[in-house]
Amino acid sequence: MTAVPALAVDDLSVEFRTRSGTVKVLEKVGFEVDKGETIALVGESGSGKSVTAFAVMGILDPAGRVTAGRAMFGGSDLLAMSERDLAEQRGRELSMIFQNPRTALNPIRRVGQQIADVLVRHGGATSTEAPRAAVEMLKKVRIPDPERRAEAYPFELSGGMCQRIMIAIALSCRPALLIADEPTTGLDVTTQAVIMDLIGELAHESGMATIFITHDLALAAEYCDRIVVMHAGHIVEAAPGRELFSQPRHPYSAKLLAATPGETASLAELASIPGGLPDLRRSDLPACRYSDRCERRLDDCTRPLPRRALGERHMVACWNPL
């Protein structure tokens, strides 16, 4: 297939200025998402998943700066767009569900109104029909008693309900690209299944492309077409979920899987990943940012990382893959 991907991120690098120096948070990050495709972005916390999402959305913290790269979306580069054009895109074409629902919602506006606002601004609804449509959205994300809940303020709702409100807001403008940053964290697995099915339906019906950020590898494998593994601001492996589970090739991916509680019989069987993320302020960061933690390191590993294709949809950035 030669179809143009919905989003193509290429060579993306981001730095943050902090009191103690410049942090090289992302380096040469590249991935694609096709129309109707759902990819998962996984990796330890601090590996740069959210920063990748923020950079693409153009909502980086003021201390952050994109130092290189492109994010091609519908023929234009999101990273080069004016703030004004980007704001326009964000409402209509690009939608994001944030990691922290409670702080992302307006605390002094009723949740039904918040959804209705989006429907009027970006969903083509009139202000008379929007409140009804907002209740419909609440129903879709399985909020019990939606008519009454529409009248609630965020503090009156449980964490999981705020999460579902955020999802309703993000989906109500039927975006072409949805970035969901741990959208089902804080939801029970039955509700999670409903939300994932809903995202899947939209992807299927309207060709919505989805970047799904999560640290639940089983969830990623069950609902996403491909899994992209990040470590310390690098993409280290990308593969279809089943393939990654049955045959991880990057040493880090293998360790992530060994830390995942699935069928394991006891806590003792799980192993955490030795060491931590390298200090990204270092000026002498190694080419492979995993090398200090890696058991498979070779002398070659100091050379710039390769991007090895292992079949059409499997990529690993490592000199000595499993």
Binding site: G46, S158, T185, G241, L270
Partner: protein, 318 residues
């Protein structure tokens, strides 16, 4: 069984929601947590887990019922007086939304030091040393201690929350989705740490989580809640191997599986959840979504009854 550390009976919390209507967030909940025991609390989002936890931690006043911590009644005390009560440091809490519960003007070090200053009157070098040690214990790199919450990633903030809660070595640690924001590697460290602390200090845990694999591995006993009520209770291994209540069955069958073969025979719940506002006392709370649901379920509320040694279930047909 060992003597219960926490003993809760008929606990009720109703929130007024206008027009004299009441939202039944916690409905006649009875439970115990033994010394050194780890009890898991699972259930649908919004079913009342956090409300229950906030009642126990006395951040909320119950509508009725009793909460006893080693025979001391806590339910009569006003929530705002509890902060100064000597029992305060015996119960500590790790919150859902680790980020939200941290003061944005406190550095990570200040946040961890705060309970030690207030409840242990520690200061100076001893305090700094203890903070460093707690950071090490929870896998928080020391160079992050000078950062403010907005400069930390979600998982890093969660570690601060846990370090802060175990700082004063409480008897009961209530954890409301403590590992939700943590990646699997840190989660392993934290879970193994919790298990180790439990052995060393004999701490008891009430562990609220949506991650059923984690609950299975960490908890001795599991409570399943649905719309304000406990619907099933029993040893963790038994609940996972042989869930009896239809809701528990749906929950366990929805655990994400990487292997498509393991997804066969999945239960997907249809129907509308019932409203928690003035619910009909004669209808099972799960009626309408329950794949079984029979006429009796809409005319008689099932009560918790014994279903084997150490097991209880609230369903007419389980």
């Amino acid at each position: 069984m060992t003597e219960a550390l926490l003993d809760i009976a008929e606990l009720v919390k109703r929130f007024p929601v206008g027009n004299k209507r009441l939202l039944h967030a916690v409905d006649e909940v009875t439970l115990t947590v033994g010394r050194g025991e780890t009890v898991g609390l699972v259930g649908e989002s919004g079913c009342g887990k956090s409300t229950l936890v906030r009642l126990i931690n006395r951040l909320l006043d119950p509508t009725s019922g009793s909460i006893r911590l080693a025979r001391t009644e806590l339910a009569d005390m006003k929530a705002r007086d509890f902060a100064r009560n000597p029992n305060r440091k015996r119960i500590q809490m790790v919150f859902q939304d680790a980020g939200d519960s941290l003061n944005p003007r406190y550095t990570a070090a200040d946040a961890i030091a705060d309970p030690l200053r207030r409840l242990r009157r520690m200061s100076g070098a001893a305090l700094r040393e203890r903070v460093d040690r707690l950071a090490d214990m929870t896998g928080l790199p020391r160079d992050l201690l000078t950062r403010f919450p907005h400069q930390l990633s979600g998982g890093q903030k969660a570690r601060v929350g846990i370090a802060r809660a175990i700082a004063v070595e409480p008897e009961l640690l209530i954890l409301d989705e403590p590992t939700a924001a943590l990646d699997v590697s840190v989660q392993v460290v934290i879970l193994q740490l919790l298990q180790q602390l439990k052995q060393e200090l004999g701490m008891s845990y009430l562990f609220v989580s949506h991650d059923l694999n984690v609950v299975r591995l960490l908890c001795d006993r599991v409570l399943v809640m649905y719309l304000g009520k406990i619907v099933e209770e029993g040893p963790a291994a038994e609940i996972f191997a042989d869930p009896r209540h239809p809701y528990t069955r749906a929950l366990i069958s929805a655990i994400p599986q990487a292997d498509p073969d393991k997804r066969i025979g999945r239960l997907r719940l249809g129907g509308e959840p019932r409203s928690p506002i003035d619910p009909d006392p004669t209808v099972c709370r799960f009626y309408g979504r329950c794949p079984k649901g029979e006429p009796r379920c809409s005319s008689e509320m099932p009560v918790l009854r014994t279903a084997g040694p150490a097991r209880q279930v609230a369903c007419h047909f389980a």
